[in-house]
Amino acid sequence: MNIGTLPGAKDARRFSLALAGLGATLISPLFWALTIDYSYLHRTGLIMWIVMIIGLIAAGMAARRDRRARTRVIAVMTGTWVLCLVAGYVFFTRLPPPSEVGPIDRVARLPLSDHLGQQVSLDALLHESAVLLTFYRGYW
């Protein structure tokens, strides 16, 4: 019998596994933020979900074998956090619908300046060609 196979040692490893699982779910949203330049990954949050599921499984597996309270608490914390993340991702990222567009003729004459403070006329741009306006919301 060596120290690695003592009952306490196995439980200690399972507790560590549960903690690792919790840790993985805690940092999983970072992976969503980090994939901001990769359209598909960012829209779906794919890497975040993968890391989260791995963490959840790890914590769950650990709690199944190690019946001590401390490991179960970690597993419950993990599960609760995952539920919060899912709710947040689905509900708190929602945006209100847009309202009616005003008459373009009027909008085109509104004053606009560029990043150098120079006046830009949407009216003038529209004389040349079609214009694609991108509203870049630089915030959550």
Binding site: L95, V101, I104, A130, L132, F135
Partner: protein, 81 residues
């Protein structure tokens, strides 16, 4: 602009007036409860018609550049007056 040598202007809508005229104002959605624009693209042709627009329903649902270009090309190629 200095870094990227962009062929298009980056505009500042400080009063949010353009944003409001396009119906894209998200009241209280910005930092500290300020008003901010919804993430959106609007394609206007030379006849001042809105030919295509996209408005995000969730903050993470933004189109890639390729997707936008595809839709713009399609919109401009079809329904020309």
């Amino acid at each position: 602009m200095e870094r990227g040598n962009l062929p298009f202007p980056i505009l500042a809508d400080e009063e949010r007036s353009i944003t409001r005229e396009f119906g894209l104002l998200h009241r209280g959605g910005g930092p500290g409860g300020s008003d901010i624009a919804l993430p959106a693209q609007v394609l206007i042709d030379t006849n001042r018609q809105v030919r295509w627009q996209y408005v995000a329903d969730h903050i993470q649902n933004r189109l890639s550049a390729e997707q936008v270009l595809e839709r713009v090309r399609f919109a401009l190629a079809n329904g020309s007056k």
